[in-house]
């Protein structure tokens, strides 16, 4: 069977999720910066670059925009918090029914720092998502979904391929409009471009459906129970939604969703039940499935260990992971929190440098 060349796509997404959770459990800007560093180092070292430029760059840009936006919003609309006043903006008096909103007013160092660390947290979560995207394409993750969710996975894959197609189509139509001297901007231009692009997209989807049909998509075994299939799919979907809700509840903390942990457990059971129920009907086989071996396990565990250690650090000593600018102080870093972050680096020695599967390139490298 295939040897495990590099960690499984799902392992990478689990690792990234772990780091994102760790970021959500802390508000300490130093820890957040360290986490961002770990994410970038691992991605730059291990991302597969055969598919063009890594998406991490794009995500990093968006993350930076988020931080800036958060600070700007704080300056203009933010809550007027006490502290050292940096500069005082002219403020707009609000009517009594809009008391919660304030525009302008004094800008404090504390307010800025708090906005900065809040923005940083969001940015790190986004960066973790970007890392997941660069380390393993979402399509690979979809490919490894259990058979019962296959139809949904295909729909998402087609949608993912569709976006670049639409962009190409927009470019073609724009060029053609330029050739006839038609407007390509403004409302008239948008309408003139949208209609042919939509027509193109519709035609394309009809062709795609025909092609998928002609290539055996949706083929069913001769004997099977339709009701059972539907039950399995329904169970898997409901299970996944429960896991999602439970997960959100756990992450958001306290009592946003009561019994979040139980909800998540119930979800896992339901989803597993759905997969088991449908297990025997699988007519589909999978081409070169990537094995989930020890490397993958270690990678996934490393991400989750980061999250767990961060949580433990928070429980043992809340001050070590939380930070607030009141009073102004340098954020402290405890050994346990530092350990949590360093654990996130484990994939570097474990995962091998990527090489295209079954590739000629690996042979060339060996030969050279």
């Amino acid at each position: 069977m295939t040897r495990e060349r590099r960690p499984h796509a799902v392992a990478w997404w689990l690792w990234s999720a772990g780091l994102a959770i760790a970021a959500l459990r802390t508000s300490n800007p130093l820890l957040l910066l360290l986490l961002a560093g770990v994410i970038c180092v691992v991605t730059l070292a291990l991302a597969d670059r055969t598919g063009g430029p890594s998406p991490l760059g794009t995500f990093a840009r968006v993350a930076a925009i988020i931080i800036v936006l958060r600070v700007v919003l704080q300056v203009i609309f933010g809550q007027r918090v006490p502290g050292h006043v940096l500069v005082s903006l002219p403020s707009l008096p609000m009517p009594s029914w809009a008391e919660g909103v304030s525009i302008g007013g004094p800008v404090t160092v504390e307010g800025l720092l708090s906005a900065l660390s809040g923005g940083l947290r969001l940015a790190v979560v986004l960066l973790a998502f970007g890392a997941a995207n660069s380390l393993a394409s979402p399509r690979e993750v979809l490919r490894s979904l259990p058979g019962v969710l296959h139809e949904i996975a295909v729909a998402v894959t087609v949608a993912l391929c569709f976006a670049p197609e639409v962009l190409a189509s927009v470019r073609r139509v724009r060029q053609a409009r330029m050739l006839r001297g038609r407007p390509t901007t403004g409302i008239a231009g948008m309408r003139g471009i949208a209609v042919p692009v939509l027509e193109d997209a519709l035609e394309r989807s009809v062709q795609l459906a025909a092609s998928m049909g002609a290539r055996g998509f949706g083929r069913r075994p001769v004997v099977r129970s339709r009701a059972r299939d539907r039950g399995a799919v329904a169970l898997a979907i409901v299970g996944s939604l429960l896991v999602l809700a439970g997960g959100y509840g756990i992450l958001a903390g306290s009592d946003v969703i009561p019994g979040a942990a139980w909800l998540a457990v119930l979800g896992v059971v339901a989803a597993a039940g759905g997969v088991l129920l449908s297990g025997r009907r699988a007519v589909r086989t999978r081409y070169r499935p990537a094995p989930f071996g020890w490397r993958s396990t270690v990678c996934a565990l490393s991400g989750w260990a980061t999250a767990a250690l961060m949580a433990v650090a928070g429980i043992l000593d809340p001050a070590s992971v939380t930070w607030s600018p009141w009073p102004l102080s340098w954020p402290a870093v405890t050994p346990l929190a530092l350990l949590a972050i360093v654990v996130g680096l484990v994939p570097i020695p474990v995962a091998l440098r990527p090489s295209p599967r079954g590739s000629t390139r690996a042979l060339v490298e060996v030969g050279a």
């Binding site: 055969t50 598919g51 063009g52 399509r139 490919r143 295909v154 894959t157 087609v158 993912l160 391929c161 670049p164 073609r172 139509v173 060029q175 053609a176 330029m178 050739l179 006839r180 001297g181 038609r182 003139g192 209609v195 042919p196 035609e203 394309r204 009809v206 062709q207 795609l208 459906a209 025909a210 092609s211 998928m212 049909g213 002609a214 290539r215 055996g216 998509f217 949706g218 083929r219 699988a282 007519v283 589909r284 086989t285 999978r286 081409y287 070169r288 499935p289 295209p356 599967r357 079954g358 590739s359 000629t360």
Partner: protein
């Protein structure tokens, strides 16, 4: 293997196919020939059940494929028996990587992973794709996409392969490669192939039998030489055979050459045809033109001079920079270095309206230029946006193709009519230069003849024409100058006759048969023989 039993089919009031009876045996390569709209695609899609299951329409009779009637078998169930590759392979890709795309059908069919692995390797080798296996599909050229699409259906090892215009988007070399692979499969593993193609000169030599649809519902089936004898749609080699009175008619260059001794001897004493030399006025100049997309260089220092009253053909492999060159001349691509000037000014610096008056451009997909719901609206808006007297555009269109039904939707026109409509709109403001990108794609011989006549007429009026094309027969018929591009550089430039005669890949059939004599078309040969007598 495939049996059509008195099949009739229609979408609306008119029957496209009428009482079609046809039997295709295992291991046969059958070419379906017919003018646009004669039901070729419908016939092909029936073999896979896509018609009527995906198309609707009314069908009488039955098609039996490998013992199963398509009436009760949906395309999904036929997937292991029939592989279908449509006109636009890119529109049928489901995944994003070459290897995954090839494995897709087998995954659906539930084929054992070990078998699947082997078959993917086989398919990669058969279509010489092993170097592209990890590539993203979006980064492939047209020819590569076509090969991936064929590999993707071949991997599921169907007994029948159905291809709709498999070579229309390919350069002559790539087309030959694809057809050679198909022939090998037919000979080695007994694959049954049914394909439709307008460019008969490319596929006829490989055909065992030809199915000729005349568009009125009647069908003729037989050996290529026999069926072609009475057909109005015929490649140059058949026309040459008719002219020389050969019987049976040869379909391959090799057969024709062996009989052409007498013709060659007669032509030896005839005066060599001379190419018309166009006007002296230079309409457009490209000077050291470069252009790039991201990190790939599409044009690399191209020098070109276009004179009034000449037709210049730009040839070269898929992806050699032909379309980019036209785009630069038309002012829609910004060159990264060098200059393109049209009548002394840079086209990118002009306003859209001024540009349109100097240079007209018909892109590869002519329908992109059309966006109204009716033909007459299309002409009226064109008048308006070009500040022309009402009726100018419709007169310009009518000159090219005769009156079009003003109430038709442009999308419902035939390929040839749509091209004529787009060309008519582009020509209405009377530009001094017209650029055409792959104008004969999807045109049948009738429409091509009409296009050739129009181009010759425009040339005589002093319009400079530049066309990017893979169609060597078109070049042979109308081009005065030829430019060959490779990797964005000009590798050959000069009188079209010289260029095509000296480059085997671009030589038209007549030139191949009569080589080393420099005659390019049947009409020229007929004229010369007339003179000798």
């Amino acid at each position: 293997m495939i049996r059509f039993e008195s099949v009739s089919f229609r979408y609306d009031a008119t029957w496209i196919l009428r009482h079609l009876n046809l039997e295709v045996a295992e291991g046969e390569l059958v070419v379906v020939v017919g003018p646009t709209g004669s039901g070729k695609t419908t016939l092909l899609k029936m073999i896979d059940g896509l018609v009527p299951h995906f198309s609707g329409g009314e069908m009488l009779g039955d098609v039996v494929v490998d013992g199963r009637s398509i009436r009760d078998t949906p395309p999904t169930e036929l997937a292991s028996t029939v592989g279908y590759v449509g006109q636009d392979p890119a529109a049928t890709f489901v995944t994003d990587r070459v290897e995954d795309e090839i494995a897709y059908a087998m995954e659906n069919l539930g084929i054992e992973p070990s078998v699947m692995r082997r078959r993917v390797e086989d398919a990669l080798d058969l279509m010489s794709l092993h170097e592209l296996r990890d590539r993203q599909l979006a980064t492939l050229s047209g020819g590569q996409r076509q090969r991936v699409a064929i590999a993707a259906v071949l991997a599921a090892s169907p007994g029948i392969l159905v291809l709709d215009e498999p070579t229309s988007a390919l350069d002559p070399g790539a087309a030959e490669e694809v057809l050679a692979s198909l022939t090998r499969l037919v000979h080695d593993v007994g694959l049954t192939v049914v394909l439709a193609e307008h460019r008969l000169e490319r596929v006829l030599p490989f055909a065992d039998r030809v199915v000729l649809l005349d568009g009125a519902g009647t069908v003729e089936v037989g050996e290529p030489g026999v069926v072609m004898a009475s057909s109005s749609l015929a490649p140059p080699i058949i026309d040459l055979g008719r002219l020389a009175g050969w019987s049976p008619l040869p379909v391959t260059v090799r057969d024709a050459r062996r009989r052409a001794g007498a013709v060659r001897a007669a032509l030896d004493h005839a005066p060599v045809p001379t190419t018309l030399v166009g006007g002296t006025e230079v309409v457009a100049i490209a000077d050291g033109l470069c252009a790039s997309y991201g990190s790939t260089l599409a044009l690399d220092g191209v020098d070109l001079e276009v004179r009034a009253g000449t037709i210049t053909a730009v040839m070269g492999r898929n992806g050699s920079g032909k379309s980019t060159l036209l785009g630069c001349l038309a002012g829609i691509n910004q060159p990264s270095c060098g200059v393109a000037t049209v009548q002394g000014t840079t086209p990118t610096a002009l306003s859209a309206k001024e540009r349109i008056r100097r240079v007209g451009f018909v892109p590869q997909d002519a329908s992109l230029l059309l966006y109204c719901q009716r033909v007459d609206q299309e002409c009226a808006t064109a008048d308006e946006e070009h500040d022309l007297a009402p009726g100018t555009t419709s007169a310009s269109v009518a000159r090219l193709t005769g009156e079009l039904d003003p109430a038709r939707h442009p999308r419902d026109l035939s390929e040839g009519q749509r091209l004529a409509l787009a060309l008519g709109i582009v020509l209405a403001p009377a530009p001094r230069m017209v650029l055409l990108d792959e104008p004969t794609r999807g045109l049948d011989y009738e429409a091509k003849r009409a296009l050739v006549a129009v181009l010759a007429e425009l040339r005589d009026e002093g319009v400079a024409i530049v066309m990017a094309t893979h169609d060597v027969e078109l070049v042979a018929q109308v081009a005065d100058h030829a430019v060959v591009l490779a990797q964005g550089e000009v590798i050959a430039q000069g009188p079209a006759r010289e260029i095509v005669c000296h480059t085997p890949a671009f030589a038209p059939q007549v030139a191949k048969v009569l080589s080393p004599l420099p005659w390019l078309t049947v009409a020229e040969v007929a004229g010369a023989l007339e003179g000798v007598r």
